[in-house]
Symmetry: C2
Subunit: 91 residues, 2 copies
DNA sequence: TCTATAATTAGAAAAATATCTAAATATCTA
DNA sequence: TAGATATTTAGATATTTTTCTAATTATAGA
């Protein structure tokens, strides 16, 4: 399970912003990078971490690599929080 | 808003375990520390970070300091994830 | 095949984080 | 008030993370 990787991935504000950008639709690495005051290799590094955590997927189309959300992990993470709101005692 | 602090606090496995322990009920700093292979000051440091993120509260009772969950922030965090599961397009 | 564009990988430097030991603070009890 | 217990604070060190520049890989088009 890459629960820990996912939590660590989401802990960074740049990466959370990347995820939010992808809510509106798939974007290329370059398009994502254009939203940040940061060099492309740095953004690429963040994308790699998000991908390793299975929060995003990538697909090459010609010269471009498109990134998209993988929402299945979000469900797992959300469940983790949900369990705290109905802490029935033992867990 | 201490959204970022909360996400960073939760990114650490030790701190997530502390939160899970508190689901079952309030615990003193010492009781919490006894669950870890780590010196007390290290655990104390984690408690401080969780407290700064408003994920837990503390209350002194005599020599002991009891820690308890503050679930209100969990709701906010959960909402953040929820928004990804119904990404209607713009956000 | 050569050149341009898109993106990543490599490696280094700087900043942030986790952990430790020692010392300090707070409270209880005799 | 003195000693014991619970806990935190201080300061140091080691590890991890973020970011940068330079170099590399992959693809498209002339």
């Amino acid at each position: 399970m890459l629960f820990n990787e996912a939590f660590k991935a989401i802990a960074d504000p740049t990466r959370r912003k990347i995820l939010s950008l992808l809510k509106s639709g798939d974007l290329t690495a370059g398009e994502i990078a254009s939203h940040f005051d940061m060099q492309k290799p740095s953004v690429s590094h963040h994308l790699k971490i998000l991908k390793q955590a299975d929060l995003i997927q990538d697909q090459r189309v010609g010269q471009h690599i498109y990134y998209s959300l993988n929402t299945t992990v979000f469900q797992d993470l959300m469940s983790w929080f949900y369990d705290f709101l109905q802490k029935e005692g033992d867990k």
